[in-house]
Each structure stands twice: as C-alpha cells, then as structure tokens.
C-alpha cells in the first residue's frame, strides 16, 4: 500500500496504458506542454513525446471527432475534454457519431475510444464552469458512462474502458483530484459493470456516485449516530445502470434516497427512482427521495454555491424524512 492521490492514480493509469499498448495515446487541450489543466498528465509529455501526448487546438468538436475516428481505425485514443462544460461543443460527435456508428453501420465499425473529462461544481467557478452532466450523458445509447469516485476506480477503470470495444466516457469530479488515500501497489484494472456497496446498512439505501460519494458516506456516519443504519451504493457505472445491485439493496432496506449533483429535473436520480418504482415498488416502505442540485445556474459566491449542491445536512435530512423521522 502507498499513499497517493486521485490525480496520481489517474496519471498512473494513463502511464500504464501507454506503456502496455502502443495504440494508446492521450489527446486534448493542454495535456502536454501545460501539464494538464488539473496536472493529471504532468510529466507524460517528457516520457512519451508529443505524438502520443498530443496538445490540441481549442477545437473540441474536431479533436473529439478525430479521436473517435482514430479509434475506428485501430488506435486506442484517450481524448481529454478539459471539462464537461466544454464537451457540449463536442456533443454532436459523441451522440451522432461515436454512439451511433456501430449500429448505423450494421456492426461493421466500432469505436473503442475513451473520452475523459473533469466534472462538477464546488470550486466557485460559476455558471459556465460548474456543470455536472455525467448523469445527463447517461441518456445516450451506444456509450458507457463511468464516474470513478475512489482511488481504486481512478486507477483501474481506464484500462478496462480502453479494452471495451465501444465508446466510454469517464467523468472525473474535479474536487476529487486532491483526494488522498492508500492504494495497493499492484492496483490495476477494475470491472466497469457493477455498482459497489461502499457501506453496508439495514435501514435505508443511499445511492450516489462521483463527487457526492464522500458526502454521502459522511451522512451515513451521522445517521448511524441517530441509530439509522444506511447502506451506501456507489453506482460507478452510470450507463448501463447496475439495476440488480440497486434493487437488491432497496428490497432489503425498503427505503432509498438518491444523491446526485446534477440538477434535479431529468437527473440520473430520477432514472434511479423510476427504476426502483418499476422494480421494487411492492418492497418500498416509503417514497424514494432525491437530493440533487437546485435548478439554478451555479452561482459564484461560496455560500450560494454551497446551497445549490447536495451537502451532508441535506442528505441526512432526506434520509431522516424517508425514515419517517
């Protein structure tokens, strides 16, 4: 075991992939000379050179599209879109090409691209730089959507994603990059199919992912003090959803709250709630609750931003409400 950070874990994953498979390369804005907007790729240019650590112009649509096509032609590109906020400029390529090409071509072409991006609010970056759209992306058939919330997943999801023959989007919550913890020295690839139970509990299931996992675990501790035993599910893979794990847990606890940094209406939390409705209605002792972001463009001021996104107290309150307390 060594102490590491989420940032370093992502970097180690990229390095290893580059070493293992020469078809892998990293491409995006400022991944090279700048060292990565969040310093994730720092040092990689020196190690692998500018062909494989490829700085791009500010052309989100073209370089994302180019990565998609390079994957179709046999490479294994890791496209870094600096943040999800800018990915809207590349959405046409993602939805209309990457996600459709296999089906539309009758299975002839495939697109094993990995597209990584930072996501999330909480750093006072205001309305245009604080989107949490990973749940929204999970609407699109033909892609897989991952949200690594732990060091293990930051370290291990990338390789599995690169081995996937279809496009995989990886959303890294920017607040996690500095998260520190222990990681096994031989940590490696992890599955990208199943949700994980991060904490076992009996009374209620709290379902979350990405940047909200930490808050949700803290909330579970608080609830424990109240005598409420909360199970915490980290979805990990937002598309396709691991419905089995969710339904099994909720069927046991009979109550659930979903914590999701996306805006409430049309959130992934809504989908999870609907799935529970469909799959475990008769098991429920109370309506499933949601703790999501307020439906507001995220404001700059710290207190307003904090009020706009899920926080430990709001999670605790929702869980208590679901317990009828």
């Amino acid at each position: 075991m060594s102490v590491t950070t989420y940032r370093e874990a992502v970097r180690a994953a990229i390095r290893e992939a580059m070493q293992r498979d020469e078809r892998v390369f990293l491409m995006g804005e400022d991944v090279g000379h700048y060292g990565g907007c969040y310093a994730v790729s720092k040092g990689l240019l020196e190690e692998f050179g500018p062909e494989r650590i490829r700085d791009t112009p500010l052309s989100e649509s073209a370089f994302t599209g180019a990565g998609i096509a390079a994957a179709m032609a046999g490479m294994r590109p890791i496209v870094e879109v600096m943040t999800v906020n800018f990915s809207l400029l590349a959405l046409d390529q993602i939805m209309n090409t990457a996600a459709t090409i296999r089906h539309m071509s009758g299975g002839q072409f495939q697109c094993p691209v990995v597209i990584r991006m930072a996501t999330g609010a909480g750093r006072q970056l205001a309305a245009q730089h604080s989107h949490s759209l990973e749940g929204w992306y999970a609407h699109i058939p033909g892609i897989r959507v991952l949200a690594p919330a732990t060091l293990e997943d930051a370290r291990g999801m990338l390789w599995t994603a690169l081995e996937d023959p279809d496009p995989v989007l990886i959303f890294e919550n920017a607040l996690l990059y500095n998260m520190e913890g222990e990681l096994a020295d031989d940590a490696g690839a992890v599955d990208i199919d199943r949700a994980a139970i991060r904490r076992e509990g009996r009374d209620i299931t709290l379902i979350t992912y990405g940047g909200s996992l930490g808050k949700t675990l803290t909330a579970a501790e608080e609830l424990e003090k109240d005598g409420i035993s909360a199970e915490v599910i980290d979805l990990r893979t937002l598309r396709p959803l691991d419905e089995g794990t969710i339904l099994a847990s909720v069927s046991r606890t009979r109550r659930a709250v979903i914590v999701d940094e996306g805006w409430r209406t049309g959130s992934l939390a809504a989908e999870v709630s609907a799935r529970i409705m469909e799959g475990a209605f008769w098991e429920l002792d109370a309506p499933v609750g949601r703790v999501c972001s307020a439906e507001v463009p995220i404001p700059y001021a710290q207190h307003l931003e904090a009020a706009a996104i899920p926080q430990v107290p709001s999670i605790v309150a929702a869980a208590r409400a679901a317990m009828g307390r």
């Binding site: 180019a66 998609i68 032609a73 046999g74 490479m75 296999r102 539309m104 071509s105 299975g107």
Partner: protein, 330 residues
Amino acid sequence: MSGAGAKVHLTREHGLALLAQMLRIRRFEERCAELYTQEKIRGFLHLYIGEEAVATGVMETLAPEDRIVATYREHGHALARGISMNAVMAEMYGKAAGCSRGRGGSMHLFDRETNFYGGNAIVGGGLPMAAGLALADRMRDRAALTCCFFGEGAAAEGEFHESMNLAALWKLPVLFVCENNLYAMGTRLDLSEAETDIAAKARSYAMPAEAVDGMDVVAVEAAARRLGAEIREGGGPRFLECRTYRFRAHSMFDPQLYRTKEEVEAWTERDPIARLRAWLEEVRYLHAGDLDRIEAEIADEVEAAVAFAEAAEWEPVENLMTDVGAEART
C-alpha cells in the same frame, strides 16, 4: 475533354470505364427515384445526378487501403468505390442484406471491406472523422490517405474550420473534396458565405488547394491524382474544390423555389456524362454499339439489384438491439 483533361492521355479503355461508371450511377439513381415514388425506398433520398464526375473521377485515383468519408448524398461514391449495387440497393430497401444491414438507409451506406466510412448525415460531421482516420494511419505508419467528400454548404460549419486546421497543423494525409454545387438545400453560396471562393478558404489554413471543373471527369481525375500524390509523398492534406451542379431537387420533398428553370437548364447542358460521351465520340473512342452495350449491362445490373433487394430478407425484429454495443467485450 476540355482544359486539364486535354493534357491527359486517356486510353480508350479508361475513357469507356469512366463513362460506364458515371452512367451506372445515373441509372441506379434514376431507378431509385422511381422506387421512392413506389415507396420501396423511404426516408430521405438525395440524388447525385449531375455530379457523377466528381465521385467517379476522384475514386479512380484511390487505392484499396485508402479510406473514404462521404455525406448523405453518397450513392455515387459507394458505387464508384466498389460496394456492390446489390448491397447498396438492399440497403435502400432496408433489408438485412444491405451494406449497413438495413440500419442506415440511403444516408448511411457503410462498408468495411472497401473502407467506406459512410454515409454521414450531419453536415460537416464527416470532417473530424476524416482527420481522425488519417491521424490513425499516420500514427500507425500506414501508407494510405483518407478522402473526405462534402458539400460547399459544410464550409460554413464550425466543424469544417476546426478540422481543416487540425489536418493542416498535423499534416494529416487527407484529401478534402468539396462538391461545390452552389446550393445548400435552397441557400445559394453567396447567401451563406462572405467569401465565396471555397479553395481560397482552404488556403487560409495553409493548405494547398485547387478548384476544378467538376463537370469534367477527366479534369477531376487528373487533379485528384496530382493532389493525392502530394499527400502520399508526405506533403500533408490537400483540398480539391469541384465546381458542379445538382440537376435534381435537394431531396424528394423540395419544390426548388430557390432557382430558375433556366439556371438548371444551362447547367444541364454541361452534363458530365453527355460531355464525356461527346468527347469519346469526337476522338473515336466510342464505337458503334459501345453505348448500347454499356447501357444494357447497366440496366441488367440495376434490375438485378432491384430483384436482389426485393427478394432479400428483413432483419428479424428481435434483432432490434443488435449492434448497439459489442456482443462480448474483446
């Protein structure tokens, strides 16, 4: 043939092949138009009639390992590239034997065998794809170029700009072929572009570019061959603007309010097929009976394709979800 064409030493055989290819595309599409009225073909149908010299001329110069990216107006490209007419026609019908297994239809012809990457129906959407295919080839030291066809309307899209720059910046082996038919649906070039010289646009990315008479198949072929050679020598991307004209409506729903009959007629006089034929007659390459033979062969091929498509199976509806993702991960 005129201009550039005159300098090319065209054999009789090659001249007839070009004529046959253009005619093949023309007759295929004429039949498609009929089939559309019979509701055998549905969705959108964009005919290439009038522009056959472009795909025909360019495709002559490409090698099997080269890759092709085209638009929704791509029947001509698919046929000229060598996708069988049966597979194309079956695709128009939406049958499982279609070249995209019935998933794509007219706008999405695909073929792995011939490196035919669609059939892309988002205007400008194929350009980043071309850059990426070429990037992969460059990184893999694969000696191939990617040929990307698109209309002049696409030049207004941001994706055009970003892709042109990327290709030029990274010196990617792409041959950009702009089929300038003067209209994007009903919008005339000068109503959509401040600078109407398309080749000049390309040069603003430090990309060598030329314009050619797109109604002259020999000139198109010559230019594409020259530019392709430069690309293959490692010179980076090249741009070829082909000045052409669409004789038919944009799609089957277009009442063509935006152009005059006179304009269409004037361009029809420059029909690339008639023109090549006249020249072949002039130089006595076209012998008595040649044309009838070619037409008969094509008619046979087209009717065989229709019969094939008619007889082909529908994909079982249970297979709806096939090919959304890979069956098993590799």
